[in-house]
Amino acid sequence: MRGKTLLAAMLLTGTMLTAGCDQAERTLFGKQSEADIKQTAYPERVYWGDTHLHTANSVDAFGFGNRLAPEEALRFAQGQEVTSTNGLKAKLDRPLDFLVISDHAEGLGSTKALYDAPRMMISDPQMLRWYDMMHKGPAQSVVAMGEILKARGNGTMPAALNDPVKGKERTAKIWRGHIDTVEKYNHPGKFTAFLGFEYTLMQGGNNLHRNVIFRDGGDKVGQIEPLDPTTELWPDKLYDYMDAYEQKTGGKVLAIPHNSNLSNGLMFMLTEPNGGPLTAASAKRRAAREPIVEITQIKGDSEAHPFLSPNDEFSGYGTAGWDKNNLLGTQPTKPGDYAGSYVREALKRGMQIEAKTGENPYKFGLIGSTDSHTSLATGDDNNFFGKHAGVEPNNHRAKDDFVPGANSGKMNWQSLASGYAAVWATANTRSALWDALQRREVYATTGPRMVVRFFAGWDFTSADLSGDWVKAGYTRGVPMGGQLAAKAGAKPSFLISALKDPIGANLDRVQVVKGWVDKAGQSHEKVFDVVWSNADTRKQAGGKLAPVGDTVDTATATYQNTIGAPTLTTVWTDPEFDPTARAFYYLRVLEIPTPTWVAYDMVRFKVALGAEIPLKQQERAYTSPIWFTPS
């Protein structure tokens, strides 16, 4: 009897304790839960973020000198001032609305562990050498990391650094700490901190990397650990992991490939890894798992290449240097590789595969992100903290090799201060933003925050541009990322609107990039200038529009908004529409020329650089496509 009472009392106390905890948790967090946040009926504003940021927990970021933890990364993204690894005060002009810290799962925290280890415990002479170099300071640390990356590429890493058992323990520990931090900084309605990691899939130095982003919080994501990559060509092991996560937790997860430009044609293949034609099952699985591709970042722009798009005079943006060889510089890139490396071609390939199999593996939306390894998500040219801690602002970074000692032919000045992800969501919460990524209602920019809308329908006219036209877009059409259902006897019309970044440059023009597949299965592309600034003086001749002009003064790294337009809008109907051909349409919005980050560096540090280094550029936005499939 007494025992029973005691047990009952314990149970009761237990229950009360649990109830107490629930209450304590609500007040302890002292913030609204996602469920409390009001969602709008349709996306009314665009949210800005970075889906690809590394902190000192990334094996290479730490090696390159980064000493800033995820906490600093989150504070910086929220608009707080932080001190960079090299002691510079760093702050964003405007906060971001969301952030994904995507530290490399592979060797998570291992460079830091090496650094923190007692020196006497390191017996491998190579590791000892790197250990000492890292402790000597940033410059030596960068060289050490270059050697570590090279060793990884050549498969000559010291066994002790790759110890799987210790690595797993370390990963689990860091992952738990990371989840704690991210949960503390996730602030529904104000700032979304996603949980995620980078799956650094690589084959022979070819970049097949993916960022993995969870829709859920630590209660679900804490049940699993990030996945170590292998070396397969097609990320089936990652998809298995994603399936297993969703089955185990009831959560949701998606993956975003990046730097297809450094994949030597392997990112968007037409074939199965064994050489046969891509099957419907593979295509379907990939499309379901990878609804988004990162099209632009510091390591170049992957939209289009002049070799593939010779008639597009804007196709070479951010390709120089990155198109010479693969990520680790272990294999040269051949012209035949380009088609599998660039996004526009992939969108065309996807429709070709769909024509044969009924499934489109490359039906993806587009975002930009930084891939910064400094913990600082900087995407603006006048505030660019570089790819890693070794290239934070200094007077020589522009001229240095991208990876010191690698001799890859890629130079720092070829880096872009790019980019950000723009997401049309109904609230600033994990679920609302993630769902927008999943439905591809997103766009990429190379850094500037221009506001871009794109709807397709069958009956839009210029009258629709007045009044509540956004609502019309949603009710009578589909937004970017959508699929336009076929309609007999009509031509698709598009509602198009672009606003300049309110603290940035005017707009030059808006273009529609169209791709289609003809009856013979051949793919085609065409770029239409659909609305442009200074239209009274700028006319089209021979299918080309006169350039917008140039107000950049490189001596002072400034430009004037005396050319271009603050807003550009139009309703456009495809004059060459073929109701029997599969097609996609996406927007490319170009700014007027502005100084590159190198130009700002030259002024800031009073350095002279060679004439081969471009000091002006036209920054841009790429929207997710809208697809048309014949009935």
């Binding site: 967090f29 006497m120 700490g177 503390k184 309110p502 940035g504």
Partner: protein, 277 residues
């Protein structure tokens, strides 16, 4: 455990190594010379098992007697060289040693902060220092008429449009086509800033309610504006912002701890800087 706790934890693991080095550094930094007359090296049982355990951890098996003897001999060799090197001052001007010692001192100084829990009074103090940071955002309801990019002509049109609107008449004929609504209802300041730019959102704060005024400059150009309503955000309540303010407290406490620890030891030094002429 967060990132820094992890570092502090790792740091504590090689406790002997750490204590010896730490004691020496403390002694050095507090201005007392270490007793280098200490010529006794004791490898006691505890140390031997620690060496053996570390081996086991690395190699996943226990060391043989021969291997253990080797570890002990290495330990003694390290100790002898370490002490001799210190007595010769070889640690001076060695960047590796200096940076390593500095990092250990920093981790020591901040390891307690990570685990600390601030009191409500401390958190409230932080809120009171910058209430705007923790308050809900101001929201605006306003009408705007867009006159295009900044130019003398646009300014002239703005003046005319303003006259009409103030007289209760339509000024739509001056409106430049733009994909922005003419009416905004209860939009947060950051939403307004995302489209019009921060300065425009700021300027709404100072405008009279219910009257057409302008022109007001935005990132897009010139507007005439009528602010219909402005929310007056309530004083932030600790319970609603506890997480945010706790994050901030930890962040600033860490910085303060680092700085205070440095100031404390710095006070024992005379720092003389002679700039080259």
């Amino acid at each position: 455990m967060n990132w820094r706790n992890g570092a502090a934890h790792l740091l504590r693991e090689p406790i002997v190594h750490f204590l010896i080095a730490g004691a020496l550094v403390f002694a050095l930094m507090s201005g007392r010379a270490p007793d280098l007359g200490e010529r006794r090296i004791v490898v006691n049982e505890a140390l031997v098992s620690r060496l053996a355990n570390r081996w086991t951890e690395s190699f996943r098996r226990a060391p043989s007697q021969e291997e253990l003897d080797g570890l002990i001999a290495e330990y003694v060799r390290d100790q002898v060289y370490y002490r001799e090197a210190l007595s010769l001052g070889l640690d001076q001007d060695d960047e590796v040693v200096m940076r390593r010692m500095r990092n250990k001192m920093l981790a020591l100084a901040t390891s307690d902060v990570e685990a600390a829990t601030p009191s409500d009074a401390e958190l409230q103090k932080l809120i009171d220092k910058d209430p705007a940071r923790y308050a809900a955002e101001v929201t605006y309801s306003f009408d705007q008429l867009y006159l295009g990019a900044e130019s003398p002509a646009a300014r002239a049109k703005a003046a005319e449009a303003l006259k009409l609107l103030q007289a209760g008449q339509s000024a739509d004929r001056f409106a430049q086509p733009a994909p922005i609504p003419s009416n905004y209802s209860q939009n947060a300041a950051s939403d307004v800033a995302a489209v019009f730019g921060g300065p425009f959102a700021d300027s709404l704060l100072g405008l009279p309610l219910g009257q057409w005024t302008g022109p007001v400059s935005s990132g897009l150009g010139l507007h005439v504006v009528r602010v219909a309503a402005r929310s007056n955000p309530a004083r932030p309540e600790l319970e609603k912002v506890r997480q945010q303010v706790t994050n901030d407290w930890h962040n600033s406490a860490r910085q303060r701890a680092e700085e205070a620890a440095y100031r404390k030891v710095l006070a024992n030094y005379d720092v003389v800087i002679e700039q080259p002429k």
